[in-house]
């Protein structure tokens, strides 16, 4: 395996690999990207997300930070209700004034990790994917930030398209990230600017919680978050990992 997707097609869920004309199912069928429904590319366990893990984004948010920079990573948890695959639709509530994307490198755990040292951390990584960790800022409250109403909304965590084998990514800290809204670049960054890099995050988290295969760490977003509106086509991409598409829809699409 070097890169794998999970897709729904013809009444079943399939494993798929990239193909010159789109993707190829394990049973041999070759399909265009828009012929299938893309699911999160692996069975997701615990979802751990990082806040303020790029130096430039920390500066961007400085106005609203009521605490100083801390040594301990700002980690929080999300649940599977929030997950949605490549080319999915995410609802923007009509009463929201500021909903924004967050392009993030997703690190997928492949081997159980408990009290793992930094030096051994990357051996516990199965692979990488792209995440778009949407937030609805209007609902931010100062209790258990970032509260689940901001960060754990149905369909608010886009993940995919591929799970890229760790062997294909010798150094996860040299990857260019960018977000495009309706084709225009609005966010740029590079994983070299992570405040807590991938081994540091695995060392920190595994010091108090056992990480299991399928657990995923969303490593945070660089500066350049911007608002999205109904109808926007949002692409979060990371060189060598994938290009993850998402469409913003309104309440009406959900009968609200």
């Amino acid at each position: 395996m070097s890169r794998l997707a999970r897709v729904a097609f013809g009444g079943a869920i399939h494993s798929a690999v990239p193909h010159a004309r789109g993707l190829q199912l394990a049973d041999g069928r070759v399909l265009a990207e828009d012929q299938v429904v893309w699911l999160p590319p692996f069975e997701v366990g615990t979802i751990i997300a990082l806040g303020i893990n790029y130096a430039d984004h920390a500066k961007e948010l400085a106005k609203e930070l009521t605490i100083g920079a801390k040594d301990e990573p700002l980690a929080f948890l999300k649940a599977p209700n929030s997950l949605i695959g490549h080319r999915g639709f995410t609802r923007r509530p009509a009463d929201a004034s500021f909903m924004h994307y967050e392009c993030e490198l997703a690190v997928v755990i492949g081997r159980s990790a408990k009290s793992v040292n930094r030096a051994d951390a990357l051996a516990h990584v199965a692979g990488y994917s792209v995440a778009n960790d949407y937030a609805v800022r209007d609902y931010l409250e100062n209790w258990y930030r970032p509260n689940l109403r901001v960060k754990n909304r149905d369909g608010g965590t886009v993940l995919g398209p591929w799970l890229v084998d760790a062997a294909e990514v010798p150094d996860p800290h040299t990857l260019e990230l960018r977000t495009l809204v309706n084709g225009k670049i609005t966010q740029r960054g590079n994983t070299r600017d992570l405040i807590n890099d991938v081994p540091a995050l695995i060392e920190y988290l595994s010091s108090f919680m056992t990480l299991s295969p399928g657990d995923v760490i969303l490593t945070g977003t660089p500066e350049g978050v911007a608002g999205v509106n109904v109808g926007d086509e949002v692409v979060t991409e990371i060189d060598g990992i994938g290009s993850l598409h998402s469409t913003i829809v309104g309440d009406d699409a959900f009968g609200r």
């Binding site: 605490i67 258990y144 689940l148």
Partner: protein
């Protein structure tokens, strides 16, 4: 857990007891909070925290005591999205006793995962079908340490009773069969230290017992 329900996500609810919010006093209006919570304050107890009856709870090195958070957990029986308060309880398959263990911490602004997400920090008791309870709105919750009752509360003291909580939570996140939603811990949750036995008793749900042990440093 009910034999046909695989456990999904376990959600905790913070400050849902009127006395727990009142215990913060004027601090709720001061920084960093600046205002009392408007929406339900929720958090997640991930799968590494799940434990059962009799399992040891490890007191991490450097901590002398852990907070024993006694609460009832609603076990979702069918997909709950935007449920009305009047019908909310029909989405509940049953209930469990939950021991929502924490490393004591003073701030609810942006607590570290280290306080609530440690391995084994969420013992969960046996499943009891909702229809055998009838209502969960006035159940007595007791905590015992080494066989002595040290804390009493009631689910009658909730700011958002079970049906109201489910209604408000399912407005923005869908709950699935097997998900657990805790009603919340009352004010003054007791502390316990390594070597002590803790038990949580809830009317109609029985008892959930666990023992605290010290972390083996260097293990």
């Amino acid at each position: 857990m009910h034999s046909t329900l695989r456990r999904g996500t376990v959600y905790g609810t913070l400050l849902n007891h009127a006395d727990a919010l009142a215990a913060l006093g004027p601090a709720v209006h001061a920084p960093p909070y600046k205002a009392p919570p408007k929406a339900p304050v929720l958090y997640i107890k991930p799968r590494n925290t799940w434990a059962g009856e009799g399992d040891a709870i490890v007191v991490p090195a450097g901590e002398s005591q852990l907070e024993i958070g006694a609460t009832l957990g609603l076990v979702i029986g069918r997909t709950a999205c935007r449920v009305r308060e009047q019908e909310a309880l029909s989405f509940v398959a049953g209930c469990v006793i939950v021991n929502d263990v924490s490393v004591p911490h003073a701030s609810y602004y942006r607590p570290s995962l280290r306080f609530k997400a440690r391995d084994g920090f969420c013992p969960i008791g046996p499943f009891v079908a909702f229809e055998t309870l009838g209502s969960v709105d006035a159940l007595q919750v007791q905590v015992e340490v080494d066989g002595v009752i040290v804390h009493r509360s009631s689910t009658a003291g909730l700011l958002r009773p079970a049906a109201r909580l489910l209604c408000e939570v399912s407005e923005f996140m869908t709950l699935s069969p097997g998900d657990v939603l805790m009603l919340g811990v009352a004010a003054g949750a007791p502390l316990a230290r390594a070597g002590q036995r803790v038990g949580i008793l809830i009317d109609g749900l029985g008892r959930l017992g666990n023992t605290l042990v010290a972390e083996e440093v260097g293990a």
